[in-house]
Amino acid sequence: MDLFLQYLANGVVIGSSYVLVAVGLTLIFGILGVVNFAHGEFYMLGGYIGVTAVTIMGLPLLAALPLVIASAVVIGYLAERLLHKALKDSDPTNSIIASFGLAVAIQNAVLITLGPQAQMANIDVSALNLSVGSVYLPGNRVLVPIVTALLIAGLYAVLHFTWTGRSLRAMAQHGMVARLCGVRVERVAIVTFIAAAALAGTAGMLMSSVYSVHPMAGNMVVLKAFTVVILGGMGNIGGAAAAGLILGITETMTAAYLANAMRDIVGFVIVILVLLFLPNGLFGKAYDRS
């Protein structure tokens, strides 16, 4: 039982990082209808920014946050131009190919410039070390769910209490009607991509002190995020948050009680089963997939 609680805590930490990546992915899909296979690269680049800030510039980890956001503005903007604006009038499947190609290009650009070796940010946040009963979490891990909870709460507030948020939600409901009501669709698209890139980048930055970062790190993460998005129901932010935690905990428990090799496989098996039997996700409302 003691170990069980420890595994649960680890699962929540990993699940939180999935939540941050998946929420952005589900935003981009829900609002713009773009399936962004390059989303893991936002995470990976965030991880490298974290490592650079801590190891090379000697900054505390959270000081990398403005850097992550600044780069998210640039990357998110460029990704929107490429994956949404340039493809707006073409077959929707083209965005699948384009974003997949973008992911391949970014990963290999990073591989060529920074090399294949994994890097890690060594930070000292022992002030945050958490020890409750038999559960022990080092500070760098405690940080992950805390920041995630703050960001998701912030996102919720923005979506519900600001005009930008209202126009985002209007777009999600019906793009054409939103445009007729005066929503500036172009701006909404850019804001969505930048916000999603910032969330994923923050996740990468936080996790750079937990796992090492390497050029292919985004690969697995984007697949996990898709798993989460599908489990939560495409476009459903609350669902993605819940499903992210569920996936993180499921993986940790699988690794602990079944076999470590099964850890990464279990999520994909679940997603195939869910798509087969519950195509709208665990929490999905009926959603038109045509």
């Binding site: 493809l87 965005s95 384009a98 391949v104």
Partner: protein, 310 residues
């Protein structure tokens, strides 16, 4: 099919049959890969180009074919001509299994499932040490035989791959001009309508996946024999991405597109020389460019140019 097309095809095969006399070992090596990639991408084209179903898992089927052959060599000691059809059968069954979710999904959902399948296959191959040899893979030491000839030189495998490629292209040409091919196109263009006019969409989708994966399985078995072994890193998601890139660049939904795309994207990186490390980067850019400005690929461009002339 017009007679002059048949003549051109015969000419192309004759030229290809002479190629090993002209090129050295390195050139032949690349040409074998062109032939195998052409076969695999033509198979993928049945699923994506004709039936309109996305698949990023073609490398997984290539892997299953190669591993089936390698595992049969190790455990059963069977020869190439038993392992080849066995590899096709096993991959065909896996293809039909993957098609089960495909029956209910389309577009990005299907793309995600196929990527998940590709990842699962890679993880199983690299981690199930007892069965697949784990990261170090398996070796196929006993070469294939052909009427008593031991096929151990690259030129031998060139002709084997050429035969396979020609056979695959003949089958593909036959399929796309058959009733089944027209059913696939009907599903691609409007699935609801296709079902409404009585096309058995379930059967059509299953056969598209099974055919595409059996073709990849056959090519995979030949590849495994040629490389004298298999490792999981030969069959990553990158290879699937490359297959998709070849299909898109050549032109999906056309017979010649996969041939053009496979030839171009297999040979072009070899020309990069010292820039060979940029190969995957280059593929990525090619995919983005193709999707944004050239969605019909080279064949689409060709048709557009010819259309504007008239």
């Amino acid at each position: 099919m017009k007679p002059q097309h048949l003549l051109l095809a015969a000419l192309a095969v004759a030229v290809m049959a002479f190629a090993p006399q002209v090129f050295g070992g390195y050139g032949v090596n690349i040409l074998v890969l062109v032939l195998l990639n052409t076969a695999v991408v033509s198979g993928l084209n049945l699923v994506t180009g004709y039936a309109g179903l996305f698949s990023f898992a073609q490398a997984a089927f290539y892997a299953i074919g190669a591993y089936t052959a390698a595992i049969m060599v190790r455990d059963l000691g069977t020869g190439f001509w038993v392992n080849l059809p066995a590899a096709m059968a096993v991959t065909g069954v896996f293809g039909a299994l993957l098609a089960l979710p495909a029956l209910r999904l389309s577009g990005h959902f299907l793309a995600i499932v196929t990527i998940a399948f590709q990842t699962i296959v890679y993880l199983v191959l690299s981690q199930w040490n007892g069965f697949t040899g784990g990261q170090s893979g398996l070796s196929i030491l006993e070469p294939a035989h052909f009427f008593g000839i031991r096929l151990f030189r690259i030129q031998h495998y060139y002709y084997l791959a050429l035969a396979l490629c020609v056979l695959v292209l003949v089958v593909v040409a036959f399929l796309i001009h058959s009733r089944l091919g027209r059913e696939w196109m009907a599903i691609r263009d409007d699935e609801t309508l296709a079902r409404a006019v009585g096309i058995p969409t379930t059967r059509a989708k299953l056969t598209a996946f099974a055919a595409a994966s059996a073709i990849a399985g056959a090519a995979g078995a030949v590849y495994g024999y040629m490389m004298r072994g298999v490792t999981p890193d030969d069959f990553t998601i990158w290879l699937s991405a490359s297959f998709v890139a070849m299909m898109i660049v050549g032109g999906k939904g056309t017979f010649l597109g996969p041939i053009l795309g496979a030839a171009l994207l297999t040979i072009a990186p070899e020309m990069l020389g010292e820039y060979a490390q940029y190969k995957m980067f280059f593929y990525g850019i090619v995919l983005v460019v193709a999707a944004t400005i050239l969605p019909g690929g080279l064949m689409g461009l060709w048709r557009r140019l010819r259309g504007s002339e008239q």
